[in-house]
């Protein structure tokens, strides 16, 4: 039992080590290093031996010294016996090994004898693996997007794996793609259009949604249950089904290629979510406040502006941010309704840019960074508001 558990422990931990070093190698390759093999066999043997040695040495040496010894041995084997690589790469390997030996530090022969110890180890390592794996898989495309926008066409063609950025160069050269898309492709105008459309949608949606949500939350009227259930059903309704009739109607009314047309459609599609989210919050406001206000002869307009709105600033800002993000990211309707470059939104402009096969990819990526940054900034900065909104209403998408 003890031998079996020891072997399983060493296996799992060496697989984990292989994974860590492989990610580091991929990142190093993308900085232009010439690494052609993961050397999985060597990594595996080293990892296995380190895990065994860790169990064997146990507490005879202080854990810090133990980690340093393991890391140095590994760096020596990996960096000097297999392939000579720059010092920063080896420093990285050293830190990874230090982290690794710190992580396996809590396991010991005594621990391995306990019930379910292999499952516990598997769970621990899977969690660690998952955290690193998902961070890598999610952040990598974003990293690529950012880095590509700083490269030049020639550099990308010469070595498609070299993503190192030369910060020594002139700032004008570094940000060249951004200068180009703003100068030759009028991205400033598109940002303005996108901002007007998104902010406009937020304002109109709130103007329509706050009174409606208040009525659904508080007042008794015929058709109330019907209204609140149809809000949810409409929310589920697919946009692709609306596209053709709206296209025909809008072209006959001359609303295509206009900001007004987009504003109308975006408001209508975000209204159900906004009403749903707001009415949930309004219901949680104590009724007594309004009863007092009615005794003071306040009209419904007064109740909404003087009591409801000040009390639900967090919910309203969450809805506002969220509607802003939907409108900013929206693509389908802007594709259908806009075909004049003068009225493009950012998303539509990038899609238009990509339609030309001659467009260098770094411009496309610079455009993508420009459209992504505001959303990610808003999201990270206001995450608390947004996450509660997301779970309450869930973004349409």
């Amino acid at each position: 039992m003890r031998i079996k558990n020891t072997i399983i422990f060493s296996l799992i931990s060496s697989f984990f080590l292989i994974f860590l070093i492989s990610i580091w190698k991929i990142l190093a390759t993308l900085q232009g290093l010439n690494i052609n093999s993961f050397n999985i066999e060597v990594l595996f043997i080293l990892g296995f031996l380190i895990s065994l040695a860790h169990l064997g040495i146990a507490n005879r040496i202080k854990s810090i010294y133990k980690s340093i010894i393991f890391s140095s041995v590994f760096v020596f084997c990996d960096g000097y016996l297999i392939q000579k690589l720059p010092i920063w790469y080896n420093v990285g390997v050293f830190l990874i090994l230090y982290f690794f030996s710190y992580k396996i530090g809590k396991y010991s022969f005594i621990g391995l004898k306990e019930e379910h110890s292999t499952q516990v180890i598997l769970f621990d390592f899977l969690t660690l693996f998952g955290i690193l794996f998902f961070s890598f898989v999610i952040l990598f495309p974003f990293y690529m997007m950012l880095v590509t926008s700083f490269k030049t066409q020639i550099a990308l063609l010469v070595n498609p794996l070299d993503f190192s950025i030369n910060f020594g160069q002139d700032i004008k050269d570094l940000f060249k793609s951004y200068f180009v898309i703003f100068k030759s492709y009028k991205f400033g105008k598109y940002i303005l259009t996108s901002t007007i459309v998104s902010v406009g949608t937020v304002i109109i949606t709130l103007l329509f949604a706050i009174p409606a949500a208040y009525a659904v939350a508080r007042l008794n009227f015929f058709g109330k249950t019907f209204l609140s259930t149809s809000i949810l059903i409409i929310y589920m309704f697919p946009a692709i089904v609306l596209v053709i009739p709206l296209y025909t109607i809008f072209s006959q009314l001359g609303l295509r290629n206009s900001i007004e047309g987009l504003l109308i459609v975006y408001t209508a599609t975000t209204l159900p979510v906004a009403i749903y989210m707001l009415q949930g919050y309004f219901k949680s406001i104590p009724k007594e406040l309004e009863e007092a206000a009615i005794l003071d002869k306040l009209s419904w307009f007064g109740i909404i502006t003087k009591i409801i709105i000040p009390l639900s600033i967090p919910a309203i800002s969450s809805v506002a941010l969220y509607v802003f993000m939907i409108a900013w990211n929206e693509f389908l309707f802007s594709l259908m309704f806009l075909d004049n470059p003068n009225s493009f939104t950012l998303s539509r402009a990038i899609q238009y840019l990509s339609g030309d096969a001659e467009t260098p990819r770094q411009y496309l990526m610079a455009g993508s960074v420009v459209v992504t940054l505001p959303v990610l900034f808003i999201f990270v900065y206001f995450e608390k508001y947004l996450v509660s909104g997301l779970t309450a209403g869930s973004v349409k998408g």
């Binding site: 997007m145 009174p211 990509s354």
Partner: protein
């Protein structure tokens, strides 16, 4: 007294909800009915433009006669299909202008030329010419003349409003359009995308539910693909997967994992041999599904995490006392607690994935075996310009969705009864 109060409450409620209801009705509900209407018609993209009478004004000076001028109107019916009735024409001129040759259809009063051209058939064209002279003999400024635009008006039928209906579109959709293939692709895309995003959602939620350094940061990072604009993400992926100089292929080549680049988004099938069995995998479709999972698992993650955090800790403590293993705890406690969330998620994601257009459109444009029903709506309606067909496909989508919802709720209802 009470009655009047209830009445004012009702009235207020209607006033408050009316704007929102009207807007949603106009933009969401009305188009759905319009869709049904259009789907039974033979309408093409060019038909929906309302026919207009048009005139191009060309100003020509006459040699040796500076006080005279020739104006040519190129008149035409903008539609190739429909006639315009009772076309009227009006153009204004400077005060000192005199008309030389008055057409019988026109009259010239108060320095404005008014004409009644009658009916114009489809494709109608006419060169209509008038000659003017100034009554005081002064020279004519061509620019100001050109800047005045003539006004035309006419009545025409709107092809969308007549009552000619046909079943042709539906016949075409269901029998000629490789409908089964389309349906199967859509189903694969929807089903595997949904299941995949839920599985990854469970894994990540379970992961983030434990305590570790950088947990809040991890939670925001996991939501990045969901909140970032689809356009930016799709093009980044396209660049990553590009067969010629994409990062993924270059990496795989560099580490000698593959010998020739794989066109992940442009190849319909790839042959894979596992345990001696060769089978064909739909490569582009798989890639598109991967993108979909990558982009939408955060929603599942968020829902499931919220549920996991609400599970009482006592349950796990009791299990520890009983000596349950981590796997037992997951399958016996965690999973049963999140089934309700999963079934809601399954429905939401299934419906939305079924209607997902942007992701596939931006990645492959529906090529190499990734044509789903929503892509077909676009292709029929705008690439082939057959609005009627596009509408018919949308109606098929709605009907399939309603069927799915019906069966789903029946199944769910039965389950609830059994419990």
């Amino acid at each position: 007294m009470n009655d009047t109060l209830a009445n004012t409450e009702k009235k207020t409620a209607y006033i408050l909800t009316l704007p929102a209801v009207l807007l949603v009705f106009a933009i969401i509900l009305f188009p759905i009915f319009a869709n049904v209407w259009i789907s039974f018609k033979e309408v093409e993209l060019k038909d929906i433009r309302i026919p207009e009478p048009r005139a191009k004004k060309i100003v020509k000076s006459i040699p040796d006669e500076p006080s005279k001028i020739k104006i040519l109107y190129k008149l035409r019916n903008s539609s190739l299909l429909q006639e315009i009735r009772d076309v009227s024409f009006k153009d204004n001129f400077p005060k000192n202008f005199q008309i030389e040759n008055l057409d019988s259809r026109c009259e010239y009063t108060k320095s404005s030329l008014k004409c009644e051209f009658g009916n114009w058939p489809a494709k109608y064209k006419e060169n209509f010419q008038v000659i003017f002279s100034t009554n005081d003999g002064s020279e004519i400024d061509k620019k100001t003349l050109k800047s005045i635009k003539p006004k035309l008006d006419g009545k025409s039928d709107n092809i969308l409003l007549n009552t000619n209906f046909t079943l042709k579109n539906f016949k075409k959709v269901l029998f000629e359009n490789e409908f089964l293939d389309l349906l199967l692709t859509t189903f694969y895309y929807t089903f595997f995308g949904t299941v995949g995003s839920i599985v990854f959602g469970i894994l990540t939620a379970q992961m983030v539910n434990q305590k570790f350094f950088g947990r809040t940061f991890m939670r925001s990072v996991l939501l990045f693909p969901y909140v970032a604009p689809v356009v930016a993400l799709a093009y980044t992926w396209e660049l990553l997967l590009d067969p010629n100089s994409g990062t993924l292929n270059s990496l795989l080549l560099n580490y000698q994992i593959i010998e020739t680049p794989i066109n992940l988004l442009g190849q319909k099938y790839i042959e894979i041999g596992i345990f001696g069995f060769d089978f064909k995998l739909r490569l582009a479709l798989t890639t598109v599904i991967m993108f979909e999972i990558w982009r939408y698992f955060p929603l599942a993650f968020l829902f499931i995490l919220a549920r996991l955090q609400a599970i009482p800790k006592e349950l796990y403590e009791a299990a520890d006392v009983d000596g349950a293993s981590p796997f037992q705890k997951f399958f016996k406690i965690t999973l049963p607690q999140i089934t309700a969330v999963i079934s809601i998620l399954f429905m939401i994601r299934f419906i939305w994935n079924f209607n997902k257009f942007e992701d596939v459109f931006l990645l492959t444009g529906g090529a190499s075996g990734t044509r789903t029903l929503p892509i077909n709506v676009y292709q029929q309606g705008f690439a082939i310009s057959d609005i009627g067909m596009g509408s018919a496909v949308s109606i098929v989508i709605v009907v399939l969705l309603l069927m799915f919802m019906f069966f789903y709720f029946r199944l769910l209802g039965k389950r609830v009864d059994e419990n």
